[in-house]
């Protein structure tokens, strides 16, 4: 009899994120964790500050993760991880990968001082920021990762956010750390590959993962992957790597750059925007994209 033909899997089957977690439907942050842990494996410890993941993991005494987790204070993901790494080494464990796993608020805002400190010291940790572009765990308040134009509960439509998203990757690049990568949960293999690459590098590594939040974005759960793909294809959130703070490489070369219009229309948080405002945003996206391309070109 002929053996049934099976598709070759592009990701390892092993799951370190269990079912029964407390994520919302269509949660991008949960997929980010799944893909990253598939790459890092079981010899990983996580330091998770206040963020959606401190809830998703499950309440005491439960945990949906098959790796140890230290729930740390909001602004301390990086500094706690630095301590864990030093502590593990002093008790003879030099193999375990130590990960700070934080949301955008814990990274762009309250945790940036500790992150900058760890990066400047080049402490041997992987810092993962899953970015859902607002304080989602506390009920959708704006963060400095919230994009221009977005509604949140603290940027109501009459006073929507009128400042651009903070360029955290450029800030991290200025620290000249060995590895920075942006990733999006729509590109699972790319997330996996980058986490795998980060694992084998010494020093501070920074992964910035785009993670849609249907609850906070007022989008449909079934659109999460679609949005995470569109945001790359319209270059709002390009996928690239930065090595040693200076070598920029595009991961996905977008040939036919899409307008941002359709992406915005799938999300309630942008519903109030006028065509003029969308035009302004498009111009900003184009400028950012051109700026990134210049960095990529000058790296060649």
């Amino acid at each position: 009899m002929k053996k049934p033909r099976t598709m070759k899997l592009s990701l390892p089957e092993e799951e370190l994120v269990g079912s029964g977690n407390l994520a919302c439907q269509g949660c991008g942050a949960t997929l980010a964790m799944r893909y990253v842990l598939k790459a890092l494996g079981q010899r990983t410890v996580l330091c998770i500050p206040a963020c959606c993941w401190s809830v998703i993991d499950g309440p005491f005494p439960h945990s949906c993760l098959d790796v140890p987790v230290y729930h740390c204070a909001f602004e301390t993901a990086a500094s706690t991880a630095s301590g864990v790494k030093a502590g593990l080494e002093m008790v003879g464990d030099t193999e375990t990968t130590v990960v700070a796993w934080a949301g955008d608020g814990g990274t762009f805002d309250i945790g940036i001082q500790a992150l900058s400190g760890a990066a400047e010291r080049n402490d041997d940790i992987i810092y993962v920021c899953y970015d859902n572009e607002a304080y989602m765990n506390t009920g959708i308040q704006r963060s400095s990762a919230t994009p221009f134009g977005a509604w949140t509960t603290t940027t109501p439509v009459k006073h929507f956010k009128n400042r651009p998203k903070k360029d955290i990757d450029a800030i991290m690049a200025a620290h000249r750390i060995p590895y920075i990568a942006t990733a999006s949960i729509a590109y699972a293999e790319d997330v996996y590959k980058k986490a795998k690459k980060a694992k084998d590098i010494q020093g501070t590594r920074f992964l910035h993962i785009y993670a849609p939040c249907p609850t906070g974005w007022k989008s449909r759960p079934e659109d999460s992957i679609r949005l995470a793909r569109m945001v790359v294809q319209n270059s709002i959130f390009p996928l690239y790597e930065i090595e040693n703070g200076e070598k920029y490489t595009l991961s996905i070369k977008v040939k036919d750059k899409k307008p941002i219009h359709d992406y915005l229309k799938l999300q309630g948080r942008f519903r109030h925007l006028t065509e003029d405002q969308i035009k302004f945003m498009q111009e900003e996206v184009d400028k950012n994209w051109a700026r990134l391309l210049r960095k990529v070109e000058s790296s060649d």
Partner: protein
């Protein structure tokens, strides 16, 4: 080996002899020499430890917490504003049941900027679940760091070893630095029951419902209640090995005293000088120096002061809108006792104003001139 060292270096030597494995610290006057010497010790391998040079005290304590949960013996030191910045993480360390040991140099809180001593920095942290030891000599500082690790690790509760800015931190004294081998025999390596490791994955400190949280705090208090006996037990053990007892309090000529001065920190040794002078002048004075403030040594205080005619508590701190904090605690210890002397509360020496033997003479004169305190707070040396 005897050496003439400053109080700050007594902390460093204590941390070294305890074989601290991870140190994370940020500089602040008047603590800097503690971490400078430890950096050198780490650099020249006198001490096999990792020194994380963090960007703030908040990160210092966070890194200590991370290292401690990973199973390493962990030390830091700070002062004043730095301690205040750590406040959130002090709760995290004790709530997480991590036996971090920290040196705190008592320095006044700003504004205005002051680098001089008073106790408001550490006493503002009295409810964070840390044990607090107030030291009066460089020898006591060194010995207490070693003992503090032992007690902390046994109870899974962090400790603060506290000394006065300049009056002790920058004062040089002869200190007996014990042999490493003997310290190793006294203080075994840190072996926590559970730690953060992929070999035995657990989640630490996750969302805790009202169903569980209450019991976790009950257990912290119950273990804190075990500390007084354990401090005395480990103190006697220390005495057997090193010839110096480390207790909860130190009483000086209290047994037959008519008036007992209750003090803490270096003021305690100044009070002894004053007591000697007063005894020569026919006043039967004594001094009770409270060394351990948390847990508070209720039984010792009750026993030692009960036969005195009067008690004068001298606080180098104030709880605004209430009293000096040692005064509060002494009164609370005596509440409901069949026989207890009147307690007078004095505030002296804030912001590094000197406390001298004549300060205590004035305090005793006031106390003896009145049957009971007429004011809630008696201020000594304040310019009005």
């Amino acid at each position: 080996m005897k050496k003439v060292i400053m109080g700050n270096h007594a902390l460093s030597y204590g941390a070294m002899l305890a074989r601290s494995q991870v140190i994370a610290a940020y500089p602040i006057t008047p603590q800097t020499q503690v971490v400078e010497l430890l950096s050198e010790m780490c650099a020249d391998k006198t001490l096999d430890a990792k020194f994380i040079k963090v960007e703030s005290e908040h990160s210092a304590m966070a890194a200590c917490i991370g290292a401690s949960v990973a199973g390493a013996r962990t030390f830091t030191a700070t002062s004043s504003q730095g301690l205040a910045l750590m406040h959130e993480m002090l709760h995290w360390a004790s709530g997480g049941r991590l036996p971090v040991v920290m040196g705190d140099i008592n320095r006044s809180m700003g504004p205005g900027w002051s680098i001089w001593t008073d106790q408001n920095d550490s006493l503002s942290e009295r409810d964070t679940g840390w044990m607090q030891y107030y030291c009066a000599s460089n020898q006591e500082v060194l010995d207490t760091v070693i003992q503090a690790f032992k007690v902390s690790e046994r109870l899974a509760i962090p400790s603060m070893v506290i000394l006065d800015a300049f009056a002790l931190s920058h004062t040089y004294e002869v200190v007996d630095i014990p042999d490493q081998a003997k310290v190793d025999a006294y203080l075994p390596p840190f072996r926590p029951q559970v730690r953060l490791t992929p070999d035995d994955p657990h989640a630490f400190g996750g969302l805790t419902s009202p169903e569980h949280y209450f019991e976790l705090r009950y257990k912290l208090q119950k273990d804190m209640e075990k500390a007084p006996a354990l401090i005395e037990e480990t103190g006697r053990e220390y005495e057997k090995m090193f010839g110096r007892y480390l207790g909860l309090v130190e009483d000086y000529l209290c047994e037959d005293a008519d008036i007992i001065l209750v003090t803490s920190g270096t003021a305690g040794y100044t009070a002894r000088v004053a007591v000697d002078e007063m005894r020569k002048g026919g006043i039967k004075a004594g001094n009770l120096r409270i060394k351990v403030f948390r847990p508070f040594p209720f039984e010792h205080v009750r026993r030692i002061v009960k036969n005195a005619k009067k008690v004068a508590v001298v606080d180098r701190n104030i709880s605004y809108g209430h009293h000096g904090m040692f005064f509060q605690e002494v009164k609370s210890a005596l509440y409901g006792q069949d026989k207890s002397p009147p307690v007078f509360g004095f505030i002296a020496g804030l912001g590094g104003r000197d406390i001298t033997p004549s300060t205590f003479k004035e305090i005793v004169d006031i106390t003896l001139s009145k049957d009971k305190p007429e004011e809630e707070i008696i201020w000594i040396g304040v310019k009005r």
